[in-house]
């Protein structure tokens, strides 16, 4: 399975990754090789009767007591933010710049 340049760019856009020209080229080749290996699971034939794994250990109703506990104080939650302002996380406007 070989990934086209358009496929690489499409996936990068879905993943919110801005790739350099070099990376587009490189990932196309590398991921195609990995996908060739991955597609060997196709050799296992039909698996219509197999249930997909949802959890590896049998666990039922993992509940805890619904007891309120304090949240992080606002200043602590904001302490690592690249741009905190007015008690919140400040981000650029979705409509600024050239956009898409």
């Amino acid at each position: 399975m070989s990934l086209t340049r358009d496929q690489v760019l499409h996936v990068a856009r879905l993943a919110r990754l801005e790739l350099t020209e070099d990376e587009v080229e490189r990932f196309g080749t590398e991921l195609s090789k990995v996908l060739d290996h991955i597609e060997t699971i196709g050799q296992l034939g039909p698996m219509d009767d197999v249930a997909p794994t949802s959890h590896v250990v049998a666990v039922e109703n993992a509940l805890r007591a619904d007891e309120p506990t304090p949240s992080l104080p606002r200043d602590v939650a904001l302490a690592a933010a690249p741009d905190a302002a007015m008690g919140g996380f400040r981000v650029p406007s979705p409509g600024a710049g050239s956009g898409e």
């Binding site: 990754l17 590896v56 250990v57 805890r64 933010a81 690249p82 741009d83 979705p94």
Partner: protein, 472 residues
């Protein structure tokens, strides 16, 4: 220090308990060694002042090195990534908190492949860690810093995480013990997520007794992780002197093609020792094991692509400006902050989950996962344990596999089936091949930690591995 360096963590804890050793002396000795680390195993080392440890603490004050991806309050927790450079979390992971309460204060944070994606620790934004047995070689990964620190004696013991072999493989390549417990045995709260259905924390130690002691202090249900479990029994210190009545299965699929001859030779010798100790050893089949790697490299990247969506330059970590609007701030931040391997995995996972491919890739991989679990369940009808090499090779040279992602992924060939099945597995040092450590992997059914530790203990004594060469 030379005397202290000879002690296992359990022995050091015992001397502290009997008053022969002051915990402050042990702290200072190891802190100095960690601060002088020449292997780039540490990304942060604690200050000189020894933390206060309660007198009766079961781990005695023996300090522990912690993989960088465990959140530690006020201490850099960067997961080997530039996107988290300088990040100091506002809370501490449950596993680290439990160790601290039990008397194992944090000595330092250890280097790792970025977000635990890798098998060599070369995918760290903070430079590669070197293998103490040969500094031109990798320590394995992703928890390579923890493994190298314990092997080199710059930490008495350490913790790491294993998603598809990231504890067991570096333990094998560095000649120490590493254990991945049953999925859910240790809380994932505060572990920076890679693939949540697979991630599991565990110990790196010099010997099996230390592994039991450290693991015992980490496990247990945590209200903050709904997938965490209470083990049916506490972890006990191992004591078995033989393997009478133990049935060991050796899967054809994981002991043939692709395994280095030196690694296979050590495996055969240890299987002979197991027979001498009274075990029956038989060849058996895990028919779907050869497909585990393909399934893993769909499932883990798919989960990673979702988990790593949180790195968007808003709440913590790096922000790049882009051209000034929100979307380009996201994409420019992720381009600047993630390394090549993380981008590859995010791309792979996003592709596997994208419209039109889900059934053929992710959906099918989850069915293969079911088949692999069934293979193990069938095995447990005839065997107590399954034994394999931990890694198909000894430590390889720095740079050898960096340009070939698939070759790097194949390092996980023997470790991934157990991860997909969520079962416990240990790697113990299994002698040298070409002067470099090899690992013997033993796995058992879910919750069989105590039986695995007991068998590994008996084998460890029979093997008689001497790791002191790496601690010079």
């Amino acid at each position: 220090m030379s005397d202290l360096l000879q002690l296992t963590a359990a022995q050091a804890a015992e001397r502290i308990r009997t008053g022969e050793l002051e915990p402050e002396a042990l702290w200072s000795a190891y802190r100095e060694r960690a601060a002088g680390d020449e292997l780039n195993a540490f990304t942060w080392v604690a200050g000189p002042e020894a933390p206060a440890v309660p007198k009766e603490a079961p781990l005695g004050g023996v300090p522990v090195a912690v993989k960088d991806l465990f959140a530690t309050e006020g201490i850099p927790s960067q997961a080997g990534s530039k996107i988290l450079e300088g990040y100091r979390p506002p809370y501490t992971a449950t596993a680290v908190e439990r160790l601290h309460s039990a008397g194992a204060p944090v000595l330092g944070k250890t280097n790792q492949d970025e977000f635990a994606m890798g098998s060599s620790t070369e995918h760290s934004a903070y430079g590669p860690t070197l293998n103490p047995w040969d500094r031109t070689r990798v320590p394995g990964g992703s928890s390579g810093g923890s493994a190298a620190a314990v092997a080199a004696g710059t930490a008495p013991w350490a913790i790491g995480t294993d998603t598809g072999g990231s504890i067991r493989q570096p333990a094998a390549l560095c000649g120490i013990v590493g254990m991945k417990p049953t999925y859910g045995a240790v809380s994932r709260y505060g572990m920076i997520a890679f693939a949540s259905s697979l991630d599991q924390a565990g110990p790196f130690t010099r010997d099996v007794t230390d592994a039991a002691l450290l693991l015992g202090a980490m496990v247990g249900r945590d209200p903050r992780d709904s997938t965490s479990l209470a083990l049916p029994d506490p972890i006990a210190l191992p004591s078995a002197s033989d393997l009478r009545g133990v049935r060991i299965g050796v899967p054809e699929e994981l002991t043939g093609e692709g395994i280095e001859p030196g690694v296979l030779a050590r495996l055969e010798e240890t299987l002979d020792l197991a027979r001498e100790l009274g075990a029956t050893v038989e060849t058996m089949r895990l028919p779907h094991a050869p497909h585990a790697l393909a399934a893993y490299y769909l499932l883990a990247p798919a989960e990673a692509s979702s988990n790593l969506a949180r790195y968007d330059g808003v709440r913590y970590g790096l922000r790049a400006d882009g051209n000034g609007d929100l979307l380009h701030m996201y994409t420019a931040t992720r381009e600047a902050g993630f390394g090549a391997e993380v981008k590859r995995r995010i791309m792979l996972g996003t592709y596997a989950l994208s419209s039109g491919y889900y059934d053929a890739y992710y959906g099918r991989a989850q069915k293969v996962r079911t088949r692999i679990s069934e293979d193990f369940k069938t095995a447990w009808e005839s065997f107590d344990f399954v034994a394999t090499p931990t890694s198909p090779s000894v430590a390889f040279e720095l740079g050898a596999k960096l340009d070939d992602p698939l070759a790097m992924y194949l390092n996980d060939f023997c470790a991934v089936p157990m991860s997909l099945a969520g079962i416990p597995a240990i790697s113990i040092p299994n002698g040298l091949a070409d002067g470099l450590p090899t690992g013997f992997q033993l796995c058992g059914p879910a919750f069989s930690e105590n039986r695995i530790l007991d068998a590994a203990y008996a084998l460890e004594r029979a093997i008689g591995f001497d790791g002191s060469g790496a601690r010079a």
